[in-house]
Structure formats: C-alpha cells, structure tokens
Amino acid sequence: MKLGIVISEGPYTHQAADTAYQFVKSALAKGHEVPRVFFYHDGVNVSTRLSVPPQDERNIQKNWTALAKEHEIDLVVCIAAAQRRGLLDENEAKRQGKDANNIAEGFRISGLGQLIEMGIQTDRLVTFGD
C-alpha cells in the first residue's frame, strides 16, 4: 500500500518527527511504499543541516536523510513555510539575496501542490504534528 506522510512540527521540540520515523521504518519493513514525506509548518525545521544535537542523542535530520536515500523517499519541504522560518536551499538563497543556505542532503524545497498530489496518489495519508 502507498502511504503519504506529513510532519508538522520541528525536531527535538515535539516528538512528531521521531514518531513518524519509527512509523515509516515499520511500514517499509512490512512491504508498504512511502513515496514521499511532506514537511509543513515547523516541520520544515527538520531539514536543516546545521543542527548539532548532543553526542548521546539521535540526529533527526541525518536519520531522515539516510532513510530517504536507502528507500528512495522524496523528502519535500514546503517552500512557503520554509521561507517564513529561514530554511533555504542554494537556489532560493540566491533568488532571495541571502548569503547562506542550510538545507540538508536528501531534502528538496517545493510547493504545497506536492502535498495535495501526495494525498491524491497515495492510499493513506498520516500526519504527525502537535
């Protein structure tokens, strides 16, 4: 079955990104497909490559990047939510005249249409948030 996932809260602050990660790992192990994870609201903060969590804690961004690489998951960060919160890739930084960017490998910035498309193309949609 094709499952679409939405993550609505930022890393570490809320458990949402952790629960989603455990859920997606289980779903994949059971043979389901997870073609896309959509990051919205503060969920866009998961995509920063600049975080440095304590050594004895999980690295939420790296976990997602690795899982996405292994299972070809499309990690989409909502552009409107990302702009408000200061998450930019190289192209966006150039376009907005910003001197730095912070999106991690495996995440891509795109529009809200990708969320609707995911709702249309998957069999089930599950949201993890606050």
């Binding site: 458990q15 949402a16 289980s26 192990a29 599950v126 949201t127 993890f128 606050d130």
Partner: protein
C-alpha cells in the same frame, strides 16, 4: 468503511482525546500515541470517559510510548489494547482513512 483516529496529547492537559471520541463512528479505532498514552491509565480522572466509548470503538495505545513514560501494562485500562509501531501500520492499512487529532 471505518476510520483510524490518532490522538497525541495528554487528556489531562488538552481536550483533543475527548473531542476525538465524541466524533467517532461505531466500528472506528482510536490509537493513543505520544503524550496521549496517559489516557490509557486505569483509575484516572478521564478513565470513565474513555471506557464509555470502548463498547463501540476499538481503543489502542502505542506500547513504545507507554513504556517510555513508565506506564506498565498492568496499569492500563483493560478495555485498551497495546500495540507496537507494526500494529500502528496495520491499523492504518486496514482502515479506510486516518484522521489525526492534533
């Protein structure tokens, strides 16, 4: 045609569990995750309200979240079933839609 509802907030702090239960149809399932697992505690101030829906709705608690919070199995309401992330995935697949009460 039935729905899996998920709730993730403590019912002692937030109204979302009660609102969810009030909108369930017969045959729906409710899964308590994250801080909502406290709603599965026996003998609490919300236990009666939860039990009142257990006849028409299947109520589950995510065992990993309960364990994280120190809730032993023998403290759970007998009307509630503990399941793992695997069971969570199965519930999503076997219900027609998932509604997340955020």
């Amino acid at each position: 045609m039935s729905t899996l509802h998920t709730v993730n907030k403590s019912p002692f702090a937030n109204q979302s569990l009660l609102s969810c239960l009030g909108h369930c149809k017969n045959g729906d399932a409710v899964l308590m995750i994250e801080d909502a697992v406290y709603g599965a505690l026996a003998g609490s101030g919300v236990a009666e309200a939860v039990k009142a829906h257990a006849g028409t709705v299947s109520i589950y608690v995510l065992s990993e979240d309960a364990a994280a919070r120190g809730i032993a199995d023998d403290r759970l309401l007998s009307e509630i079933t503990g399941i793992g992330y695997d069971g969570f995935v199965d519930l999503v697949a076997t219900h027609d839609r998932t509604q997340n009460w955020l």
